[in-house]
């Protein structure tokens, strides 16, 4: 009872903080993009080789690109109010539909990467904290440092070279086997095979961060008085580690992981390009090159919302993990 009320309070506060942030993001995104020279009409004209002033003007008129910036902004807001993200001149289809096609792929990749990073990071961190300064700790520290310092696209390329080119175990790109209409378990396995390498190359950087963080947090928590109390109860080392040490060491990890959702979205642009993964990141990249602002705005808005939702989720998770977090009036 008391607990669910406390969680509701935390949720309400997190949402109240998220709403103005979302609005600010909206405004900044829109005006920031107008600072870039050129628009979709320029790019389309350039690609077609030649265009007269009249066709350019007609195109701009059709997409509302000739209106004053403020009017364009108001039109954008009114579209949003009608739950429409606008229309893409480049793809000639509604932005929402375009994003809808790409969103699941990216969410899947992000979820897998974050999950992988957390699982591996916890495991490695816990192993390293078991005997700080020992052989295992040193070996893993070096490995983790490597993960941390090597750029994601290079790891991606090297993984392709090893697992796709040399060993031939895993596909080098794409999202599913083309031409095969697999269903059920076989279909899921097929998708998973395509996700392993991009997921891993996106995750390794974060594995490094979480492993270091978990190691440090566990070492710190282990020297706390309540761990001695737990030992004095006669609990086994495993029970002490899982129930008392890990539980408390998770608190800083969740904070940082929440902040990483945005970073992973950024990393997805690179990884999706390397693995030709049909996701939001690559769509954003293509939209930039095509000056397709309505698509870009849509992607940015959605990404911002994703990060905001992730932050709210982390706030809530923290409140679940740590009873000391409560409403401060």
């Amino acid at each position: 009872m008391e607990r669910s009320r406390r969680l509701l309070h935390v949720l309400g506060r997190a949402l109240a903080e998220a709403a103005p942030t979302a609005l600010a993001i909206l405004v900044v995104n829109f005006f920031l993009l107008r600072l870039a020279p050129g628009d979709a009409a320029d790019v389309l004209a350039g690609e077609s080789g030649a265009a007269t002033e009249e066709t350019l003007a007609a195109m701009r008129g059709r997409f509302g690109l000739d209106l004053p910036v403020l009017d364009q902004f108001l039109a954008y807001l009114s579209n949003l109010a009608h739950l429409s993200l606008g229309f893409s001149p480049r793809y000639n289809m509604p932005v929402a539909e375009l994003i809808g096609q790409r969103l699941p792929g990216t969410l899947l990749l992000m979820g897998l990467s974050l999950g992988l990073a957390l699982a591996l990071g916890l495991l490695l961190g816990a192993l390293m904290a078991r005997a700080p300064g020992g052989v295992l700790d040193r070996v893993l520290s070096v490995a983790v440092l490597l993960f941390y310092s090597v750029p994601g696209f290079w790891i991606g390329l090297m993984l392709i070279v090893l697992f796709s080119v040399k060993l031939g175990w895993l596909p080098s790109g794409g999202a599913r086997t083309i031409g095969q209409n697999l269903g059920g378990v076989a279909g899921v396995l097929d998708r998973l095979r395509y996700m392993v390498l991009p997921g891993l190359s996106l995750a390794l950087f974060y594995v490094a961060i979480y492993a270091r963080l978990v190691r440090a947090a566990m070492l710190e928590v282990r020297s706390q008085d309540f761990v001695r109390t737990a030992l004095a109860k006669g609990l086994s080392p495993a029970a002490v580690t899982i129930r008392h040490v890990l539980r408390n060491a998770l608190l800083p990890v969740t904070t940082v992981a929440g902040m990483h959702v945005g970073g992973i979205l950024g990393g997805a642009v690179v990884v999706e390009t390397v693995y030709s993964w049909p996701g939001l990141g690559r769509l954003a990249f293509e939209a930039v090159m095509a000056r397709d602002f309505s698509v870009l705005l849509g992607v940015l808005l959605l990404s911002s919302l994703l990060v905001l939702v992730a932050n709210v989720a982390v706030d809530l998770l923290q409140a679940v993990l740590d009873p000391r977090i409560a409403v401060r009036p």
Binding site: E2, F226, A232, N248, L251, L321, D322, P323
Partner: protein, 342 residues
């Protein structure tokens, strides 16, 4: 036979030996106080009994027998079955000794589930009963409370509930009241003593508060720089301290031994500091001792048992007259005005 029989205990760290040649017995249902100033090794002794010495520390010498069983010979897994069940400990810092993210009910139930194999439900109702037992009001509601929602005194009660959950035969209380304010201190000690009587458990009370010793202990062992310097019943000790260190301590108390001293005069003090004990080949107290002789600095004086049953480790004071203990086995109502902290 003594319940706890420690002989010649030595604790070693890579660069220090904070406890040497310590012998101590605790009988069934007896309260033995271990007193000494900070750094005298009393807390380390307690942690050694629980095999909870901080990293780097180890028992380098001596035997610890509990109920006739040599604890040092037990494997880690066998020892864990005793720790928390037969021997339990209450720590000094109630503010940090409980896990902040787990409810107090869970933390009490945890020890019951570990040692008595109770189901979560059964352990919970036992936890509620234990909270009631340690006089926490409204235990049905408090069982779901988290440590930060409780006061220091309440938290220490919870710690006591954890410790006595499996009805241990020996409770080690390491300065259980140091972090609490004075009114709560008395309540907590009274609670521990009540539980001692009800459960028939022995208590090893580690403290630096002579008032606590006077009121609650059946026997008191005084430690200085890692060694036991004197052991006696509190009445005898307060009436006629034998060891120069104990004498100095009592003389430095505002009332005890201060007879003949006029108002406004400064309290007598023991010259020097405990640091002077470092590297002494002989008696650790010799550098500060007004009675030290040449022989004191040669070798540490052995702890000798006198005919009257008192133990003192001092060459000079060994033959000094000590008042024979004339005191009923336990008189909790005896309250000494000598009550004072070190």
């Amino acid at each position: 036979m003594a319940l706890l029989d420690v002989r010649g205990l030595g604790i070693a760290f890579p660069r220090a030996r904070p406890v040497r040649d310590l012998s101590l017995t605790v009988g069934p249902a007896e309260t033995v106080a271990l007193v000494g100033e900070s750094g005298s090794g009393k807390s380390l002794t307690a942690l050694a009994l629980m095999r909870l010495l901080p990293p780097g520390g180890r028992v380098a010498a001596g035997t610890i027998r509990f109920d006739g069983q040599d604890l040092g010979a037990l494997s880690e897994a066998r020892f864990r079955r005793i720790r928390g069940r037969d021997v339990a400990m209450v720590f000094q810092e109630p503010m940090t000794s409980l896990n902040p993210v787990l409810s107090v009910g869970f933390q009490i139930a945890e020890v019951l589930r570990r040692h008595e194999g109770l189901s979560a439900r059964a352990a919970r109702s036992r936890a509620i009963a234990l909270l009631d037992r340690v006089r926490i009001p409204d235990p049905h509601r408090r069982v779901d409370a988290y440590p930060h929602q409780l006061s220091g005194g309440m938290r220490q009660r919870v710690m006591i509930a954890v410790a006595v959950a499996c009805a241990p035969r020996l409770l080690i209380a390491d300065e259980p009241t140091t972090a609490l304010d004075v009114t709560i201190q008395a309540q907590v000690l009274e609670l521990i003593d009540g539980l001692r009587r009800d459960l028939g458990m022995a208590v090893l009370l580690i403290t630096h508060d002579l008032g606590v010793v006077a009121q609650w202990a059946d026997r008191v062992a005084v430690m200085y720089a890692g060694r036991k310097v004197e052991e006696a019943e509190p009445d005898a000790l307060f009436a006629a301290p034998l060891h120069p260190y104990t004498r100095g301590l009592l003389a430095a108390s505002p009332r005890a031994g201060g007879a003949g001293r006029g108002r406004g005069e400064p309290l007598p003090e023991i010259p020097g500091s405990i640091d002077s004990a470092l590297g002494q080949p002989g008696c650790a107290f010799a550098p500060r001792c007004p009675l030290a002789e040449a022989g004191c600095r040669a070798a540490p004086p052995p702890a000798l048992v006198r005919p009257d049953g008192r133990v003192v480790a001092c060459l000079v004071a060994a033959d000094a007259p000590g008042r024979p203990p004339a005191r009923p086995p336990r008189a909790p109502e005896v309250r000494r005005d000598a009550a004072v902290g070190l």
